[in-house]
């Protein structure tokens, strides 16, 4: 088995258009959630979100590209450019033939769907743009990354709702670890902040109208975000040989299914995934310094997650730091684990723990160190990243400092 390291990272989300901007916001505990701006927003009961502002895709992509790129593809490409530039890799010959792209995404081109449904249903038009299908398919982003960077190996998209990115990154990790690919571009993206996207979530009645306050007694639901997080996973010796800067090592992962309820989380399913990731990575519970929580800010997730962490880590759960950065960038659904992996990298590399902001009142059912409201300096050697999806699908990654 080969060791797998991260040699490039890129993102765009409500906190920033790059990794440095996002990490600065994490350090400052800045909130990127605000009033949503899009057509028909006044018809929604929920009108806040972690929306990306000041993003002018027209200046970044040409006319032909714009007609093919939904917003989730645009985000993905912006983040992939940053990650691959940092890695300093050029994909040619054998490296290009073997390296691929595995990305997480849940909704596909929601904005494209929304606009075109409006066109045919509301406006009564009988013709849509010829590229609606290639624009909205949820493998579009992975395909465009492969085309832009000449990645000709295994390339596909993983959809497991809120765990999509973690499942995708676990898959990419496997491919590099087993020697199947020397490099994999991975992560995920989502862009559901359009009228239909938010309206659908509104129906479930789990959204907050004012803020995302994970683990806080007065939390009242989740807040949606959008964006992308993209990483370059590289075989360790390959990275070392070319003198690449190593951001962190992916040490292990685990995936489990609750096999119980389509929306309610299960402590056992989550705990099995956390324990499984530690076991796969050969890590003892007492080595874990930081956990990036799934921490959605719903009543059900946060208490179940805390109970699962307590089960999996035993007495060490009282010492571990666990925070939810969704309080700052919102819930990026299929892209969320990817953006949240940045908080794990920051903890390992910079020794700074991103806070859970919006924390107002302790909840006895979430009695862990949730790093409330302010970032903290701490030396961390091992970090975990949790993702627990609707459908009862759990995926946890274990990272180690290099």
């Amino acid at each position: 088995m080969k060791r797998v390291v991260i040699t490039g990272a890129g993102t765009i989300n409500a906190l920033g258009h790059t990794v440095p901007e996002t990490l600065e916001a994490f350090r400052e505990g800045r909130c990127g959630i605000g009033p949503l701006e899009f057509r028909d927003v006044e018809r929604l009961a929920i009108n806040i979100g972690g929306q990306i502002k000041n993003f002018e895709a027209e200046g970044i992509f040409n006319r032909q590209q714009m007609s093919l790129y939904d917003r989730f593809t645009q985000f993905t490409l912006v983040a992939a450019r940053e990650a691959i530039a940092q890695a300093g890799l050029e994909f040619i010959g054998d490296l290009a033939a073997k390296s691929g792209v595995v990305l997480g995404n849940s909704g596909g081109g929601m904005t494209t769907l929304d606009e075109n449904y409006r066109h045919v249903y509301e406006d009564g038009k009988n013709r849509v743009h010829p590229f609606v299908v290639p624009k909205l398919m949820n493998n579009a982003a992975a395909s465009h990354v492969s085309m832009e960077f000449n990645l000709k190996g295994p390339t596909f998209t993983v959809a497991s709702a809120c765990a999509s990115s973690n499942h995708a990154m676990a898959q990419a990790f496997q491919m590099v670890r087993t020697g199947m690919a020397p490099v994999m571009v991975t992560g995920g993206s989502e862009s559901m902040l359009c009228f239909g996207g938010v309206k659908a979530w509104e129906g479930l009645r789990v959204m907050s109208k004012d803020a995302c306050r994970p683990f806080s007694m007065n939390r009242n639901g989740m807040v949606q975000g959008e964006g992308a997080g993209i990483f370059v996973f590289e075989e360790y010796e390959h990275a070392k040989k070319r003198g690449a800067e190593i951001l962190a090592e992916i040490a292990g992962f685990s995936m489990t299914s609750d096999a119980s309820d389509i929306v309610m989380p299960s402590k056992q399913g989550a705990a099995r995934a956390i324990s499984g990731a530690m076991k796969d990575a050969g890590i003892n519970a007492d080595e874990v310094g930081y956990i990036n929580a799934h921490g959605t800010g719903t009543a059900a997730n946060d208490k179940t997650e805390c109970a699962a962490v307590a089960d999996a880590l035993g007495p060490h759960a009282d010492k571990v730091m666990i925070s939810s950065t969704k309080s700052m960038h919102g819930h990026l659904i299929g892209g969320t684990g990817a953006v949240e992996l940045l908080a794990c990298i920051m903890a390992l590399r910079d020794g700074v723990i991103a806070p859970t902001i919006g924390y107002e009142e302790p909840d006895p059912e979430c009695a862990l160190d949730v790093v409330p409201n302010e970032a903290r300096e701490a030396k961390v050697d091992v970090a975990l990243s949790n993702a627990f999806a609707f459908g009862g699908l759990n995926a946890v990654l274990a990272l180690r400092k290099v």
Binding site: A45, G203, L204, R205, V206, S208, N220, V263, T298, A299
Partner: protein
């Protein structure tokens, strides 16, 4: 059909029971309606009466809408219909 009978019909449909078994003193738990079933029932009620029911699944106790029994739900809907259709 009056409001009470229509609400009972919707709840009975969700619980897969005969409306005569959905008595006013029953709780949702008695009827075997879980959180998803509740959200679905509220949707059906909103559609039937063309009203908005203020309910957040994260804070059922703090919502302005009382769901502690069939009687409480019926009373709440009667009040909302009166307020929103006046």
């Amino acid at each position: 059909m009056d409001i009470q009978n229509k609400v009972i019909e919707i709840i009975a449909d969700q619980a897969m029971l005969d409306p005569s078994d959905v008595t006013m003193d029953k709780t949702l738990e008695d009827l075997g309606i879980d959180s998803l079933g509740l959200v679905e029932s509220i949707f059906a009620i909103e559609e039937a009466f063309d009203i908005q029911v203020p309910f957040n699944a994260n804070e059922p106790d703090q919502s302005d809408f009382d769901i502690s029994s069939v009687a409480a739900i019926v009373a709440g809907i009667q009040k909302l219909v009166a307020e929103q259709h006046s």
